[in-house]
Structures are given as structure tokens and as C-alpha cells.
Subunit: 407 residues, 2 copies
């Protein structure tokens, strides 16, 4: 697998674009994005589990049910959530507008929104600009970049990826973009991820590979506990690479699924790193539990503890908080078999071993924990079955950003 | 029920004291507390559910099993947690030292510790001072105050209560003290609560009333998600009021159980108000669900959302975050039947009604949310079955206090 340029336009046959249509009235930044494939795509998606769902989620869930997509239309600056029947009409209208431009079935268009909740979506602004949006489509890096800009809200970094793998001697590409951060954005303004690929793959195996990738990436991004009303991950596969369709769980499938997972993990690490107010990417790895679920529960409990997160901010080797978070996670483990270590580019240090504090120099620990990417490594018994989750530190700026966003 | 003075010494027959024995080496503040009843007490307790348990918890769980206590000995400045076999010996030694002073059964002594994790408890300091501790006992407000001081760590406010009720024409008193805050203290340094009463009551009904009180108070205190290794709530009933023992769930039991719950709620509100870095007590009340559990789940999800907590800090009427927190709580509710209001001494305002935003003046909302005690009121359908939980806002100071505690 090698990294290549192009983002969602790296796979053959995809185009993307982004413009300002007027939703972000004040900033006048790009606020309307389109990703389009001339060929109809096999498609799969994962949606927020929040009981309060944005209109875009409701519409996209319906549209994706048949497993076919031609396009994704997305706006930023307005979440179109808690907006009642008018909001639902607006989301359907977005799909219809895109479909009319390309003479495709509106049910083959996914709709995404991100921004402020409870404010009516100015659908007229989208209607007036749909031609300009279609004209902005390009099949290169610039098209990808414009679309990515148009889905960003308070993101401070771009989250993008594109890779190439070989399946049966033929090159296959996967590209992706995401918005959102390790901590969910103001007004829960959503995690969105759009993935494209020129692989040919059955609906069933695309579903399976996406669910596996999401469960090991986005579902292991520990946020501040708040799950957005608008979250979605969508993948479109147009088959333009020319490989024979993947229809069995063979080597080709494993290559594709592994690459899709790697793309998602790269986007997730970028999201954690861009957590609101975050100064550090914190990876928590748990080794040696009997099953993956236990390791994941322990790792998430550590990575989402406010006390651990503030200690990471302060570069404080406070292992007591880590053990405590493991203790209340609900997962079974033996503290007497447990080792805790910290690692970064500045080195690695063990601070707790087999149930007792392990002597270390505070200065070494401070140095290790002062880096921009740090890892908390838990080993229970042995080093098998490593599971990693990703998070970030909790800082003054988190409070500042979220303390007064709307007004 | 009327409030009276005296704290844990308000009930007849209880004495308390507190001294500095040397554990808090630097600050030289009181660090060793004793609560003692000459008469043997019926006793009950609730302990942390954290899988990692401090030595004091393990010893006290054993001792309380028989339902009898004469005394509680507690230290601050050291949690005696993750300290191995030596820690367990030290906790047992604490009980034995107190028992020797009063020639009582060491198994009738409960032990509590709070402070830094993973540092050996300096048991010699306690041994050297046990005589002075016994001599410090007083049966009045000053004894209570000294003991309360000796269990505090970073607490900025005293949490204390004492009330008098009448059962069958006779006065009965309940007193209490607590330490800890809405957000759990650095190094998870524990929520401790000691309650005394001169009621006469069977072990079974004391258990029942304590569990009911804790489930409606301490278990509805939404902290930062971190549950300490050292938490405990203990109640001692010595029967000195002279009332006939409560052995059935009659009117006398209801009076007692209600007063015990009110005492716990008062302590919990004080703890939330003293949350680390908190500027506000936030009460979340949910009305109208079919059952108490659903209301509690919704209320806790709101009160523990970092986004809601920062909005409270910023006095930002961000109802979208509230609906979002309800949506991911896992509880079933109908957003179209849901109303959200904010209330404080400055007034009450509805911001969301029956599934749609409800117009309000931002200035009014800001004013209401700028008070020191604010309430978020959710009504689903009707106003029955109100359940309240207590929390606080998330502030810069929370990050500051927890970012670098140990060093």
C-alpha cells in the first residue's frame, strides 16, 4: 500500500467540487460540496446512533438502502437538525437538485449537513447555486480540496487520505476526506467521512469491510462523550479500476478491507489530533486481554477520562488515574497482572508493574509526555491482541471554544 | 424536619475529633479523624464499585458485614490504594489502633482513606498520634468541625448537615459530613460521607433506607465520569434517642428514610457546588417519563455532557446540545413531545417545545444562566415523575486543577 495524491479524486472516475452558496453568511467560506461519479457506484454507509437524527441522516438512510449512489451533496454552516417537516423537505430537495443536474435518480444521491442545530436550512441559497456547484467539479486534487474545504466548520486541519494497492496485479485506489475533531464540534457539528474507491466489490462485502473499518477506527475515536445528530461515513465504489469484482472473502478482499481500514485510521488520528483545543494526540493501547472487546472497553475508559486527559495536557505521569479509569470501566482485569507504560518519540517508561508502583524519574516521564503524540500502553499478562483507541488531551481551549459558541 | 447545629455530633451519644498526625507533611493541616459512639451502633455502608479498591475499602467491607460499628477512623493525604499487602496491613492496623484505645472489637471500626494513590501509608505517624486523636474527641459542633477538616483534601467548602425529626413524639437526630466534589478530586481522591443518627432501627431497614437515599442522591451526582477507588458512605445508628426501634416500614420508617435522603441530597448539592473549578450548581430535572430509570438516564446524560457543562459555564442557552445528549443516552423518548426550559432565581424560559425551537430572547436566557444555581428542566409529555440529578459546569479551572496536580 502506498500513499498517493488526490484525495477522493484519486480513484479513477470521481470528481469533486465545492463553492460558497451563502449559508456561511458571515465568513463567506465554502459551504456546499459535491462528490460525483459518472458510473453508478455500489455504496455503503454507517450513520449516527443518536435517537435525534438530522434530516440529512433520515434521507440518506433511505437512499442508501438500495446500495447504489452516484453522488454525495453536503453543506456546512447548518446542521438541518431539529428543524421539523420543513427540514426533511429541504434535505430531499438537496438530493433532487443534484439529481436534476446530472439526470440521475434522486435516490442515488446521499445528503449530508453539518453546522448549527435548530435553524432552518436556507434551501434557496442551494437552489440558486446548484449549477455553479456542478460546474465546480474537477477530477483532480483541486476538486478534492475544494469539496473538503466546503464541509469544514471549526476544523483547524485537513483530514484527507488517498492510497493505492494492487489486487491481482492491477492498481486500485481508495480516497477519503473527513471533517470533525476528536472532540465533537460546537453544536455537535458532526463527524462526516466520504470515501471513494475504484475497486469493484459486491454490496455485501463493501458493507462488511466498511463496518469492520469503522468499528476499528471511528468507533475507537474517544470523543468527549457527545455523539452528533449528523454523523455519517459513506463509501462509494465505482469499479473503474477494471479489477474483477470482489465477491468472496479472498486475498483481494483482505487487501481491500485492510486498506480501507488504514484509510479510516489515518483520518481518525487526524481528527483526534484536531480535537477542540487539543495539543496532543493520545493513543491508548491495551495488550493481553482474552478478547478484543475487553481491551477496547479498558482503552476507551482511559482515553475518555477527563482526569487522564487533563493529566496528558499537563504532561503528568499520573498512572493512578489510569488504573482508576480501568477499574470503573466495567471490564474484568487483574490489577496485579497489569503494567502501565508511557511512550513517545522521546522514549518509553514503565510506571506501574504487576500491581505496584514502578520507580521512574519524573523528569523522564515529563519529557515523554510533553511530545505532540503520546501513547499510554497497558499490558495485562502478555502482549497479545493489541487494541488501540485514539483521543486527545483536555485543555483550557476546549472550555473556551465550547463555553460560548453560539453567541 | 428542622435543621439543627452539630453535624455528626448532633445525634445524642456521638463524639468526633480530628488532629494533624503528619501525613499531610507539607501543609500541616488536620489529616486524621475519628467518629465514636460509646454505645455499639447498628451500621450500614455503600462502597465504590471500582474494581480497583483501596485497602480501607476492603477492610471496611469486611468489618461492616456484621452490621455493627463503634467508630470510624479516617485519614486524608494518602489514599492507601494500589499499595499491595503492606497497604492492607496498614488499614487493619488503623482499625486495631482505634479499637485498642476504647477496648472495643477492631471489627467494629470502619476505616477510610483519601489522598494520593500508590504511596505507602505512613502508619507510624498514626500509631504515634492515636492517643492524641482519642483525646481530641468532643461531643459538640467543635468535635464535628475538627473531624470534618481532617477528611478534607482540596475541598473549598464544608459539606455538613444535621436535622431533627419527630418519630412517635420523640426527637430523633441525623448528622452528616462529606468530602469530595461534583467532579472527583485529583488522584480520584474520593467521596467520603459519614452519617450518624440516634434513631433505633433494625439493620435491615437501615440498609434499605441508606440504599434508597444513596440511589437518589450520591448516585445522581454526575461527576466527570471518574469513580474513585476509595468512595464510601457509612451510617451509624446508636438508638440513643430512646424511640422504640424501627423494625417495620411504618410511618416512623418513612420519616426516618425521608430525612436520611434529605441529608444526603443536601451533602450532594454541596459537593456539586464545590466541583473542581465549578462556578455553578447545575440541577437537571426530567419530568413525564413512564419510569424513574428513563428519567435518570436522560438527566445524567445531559448533566455529564462536556458540551452542556461548558455551555453552562458560558451561560449559553445551547439547547441543541441538551437534545443531543438525550439522543445518545440510550433512553427512549419522543423528541416531538419534548420541552426544554432553563430556570434560576432570575426567572424561567422555554427554549424548545414539542420538537421545535421556541422563540426566546438571548438576553433573558443569558441572565437566567448567569446565576450560581441553575436548573435545566425537561418535560416529556406531562409533568409527572420528576427526577433530579446534580452536576456543575466545566471551566478553565477544572483543567488547571487537574492538569498538573502531582508535581
Amino acid at each position: 500500500m502506498k500513499e498517493i495524491a488526490g484525495g477522493v479524486c484519486a480513484p479513477i472516475g470521481f470528481m469533486a467540487g465545492g463553492i460558497w452558496c451563502g449559508i456561511k453568511a458571515q465568513s463567506q467560506k465554502r459551504d456546499l460540496a459535491l462528490i460525483y461519479s459518472e458510473k453508478s457506484c455500489t455504496a455503503s454507509a454507517v450513520f449516527t446512533t443518536n435517537r435525534v437524527k438530522a434530516a440529512s441522516i433520515i434521507v440518506s438512510m433511505e437512499h442508501i438502502a438500495a446500495g447504489k449512489l452516484h453522488a454525495i451533496i453536503a453543506n456546512s454552516g447548518n446542521a438541518n437538525a431539529c428543524t421539523g417537516a420543513a427540514g426533511l423537505d429541504a434535505a430531499q430537495r438537496m438530493a433532487a437538485l443534484a439529481a436534476d443536474e446530472f439526470v440521475i435518480n434522486p435516490r442515488h444521491v446521499a445528503v449530508a449537513s453539518t453546522g448549527v442545530i435548530g435553524v432552518p436550512l436556507p434551501i434557496a441559497a442551494i437552489e440558486n447555486s446548484i449549477g455553479a456547484l456542478a460546474n465546480s467539479l474537477r477530477g483532480d486534487e483541486a476538486g478534492h480540496a475544494a469539496a473538503l474545504e466546503a464541509i469544514m466548520t471549526t476544523d483547524t486541519r485537513k483530514k484527507e487520505v488517498s492510497v493505492e494497492i494492487e489486487i491481482g496485479g492491477l492498481p486500485v485506489r481508495i480516497g477519503g476526506m473527513a471533517k470533525g475533531s476528536g472532540m465533537i464540534h460546537p453544536n455537535m457539528a458532526t463527524m462526516l467521512c466520504f470515501l471513494t474507491t475504484d475497486a469493484a466489490i459486491s454490496r455485501e462485502l463493501l458493507d462488511k469491510s466498511l463496518h469492520r473499518a469503522v468499528s476499528r477506527s471511528f468507533n475507537r475515536l474517544t470523543v468527549d462523550g457527545d455523539t452528533s445528530t449528523n454523523d455519517m461515513v459513506v463509501v462509494m465504489a465505482n469499479g473503474a479500476s477494471g479489477i474483477p469484482a470482489i465477491t468472496e472473502e479472498d486475498d483481494g478482499y483482505e487487501l481491500f478491507a485492510g486498506a480501507l481500514e488504514a484509510c479510516c485510521v489515518k483520518l481518525v488520528r487526524a481528527m483526534a489530533r484536531d480535537g477542540e483545543g487539543a495539543t496532543k494526540l493520545v493513543t491508548v493501547t491495551v495488550n493481553g486481554t482474552d478478547d478484543e472487546a475487553t481491551a477496547e472497553t479498558l482503552a476507551k475508559s482511559i482515553a475518555s477520562s477527563s482526569l487522564v486527559k487533563t493529566a496528558c495536557f499537563g504532561a503528568d505521569a499520573n498512572w493512578g488515574r489510569i488504573l482508576c479509569a480501568m477499574g470503573y470501566s466495567g471490564a474484568e482485569f487483574d490489577p496485579l497482572q497489569t503494567t502501565v507504560a508511557f511512550k513517545s518519540t522521546a522514549g518509553e517508561i514503565t510506571v506501574f508493574k504487576n500491581g505496584e508502583p514502578f520507580p521512574f524519574y519524573e523528569e523522564d516521564a515529563k519529557n515523554i509526555l510533553s511530545q505532540e503524540e503520546i501513547e499510554i500502553i497497558i499490558t495485562i499478562g502478555n502482549e497479545n491482541n493489541a487494541v488501540s483507541v485514539w483521543g486527545c488531551d483536555l485543555t483550557y481551549d476546549y472550555v473556551k471554544i465550547n463555553g460560548d459558541y453560539r453567541s
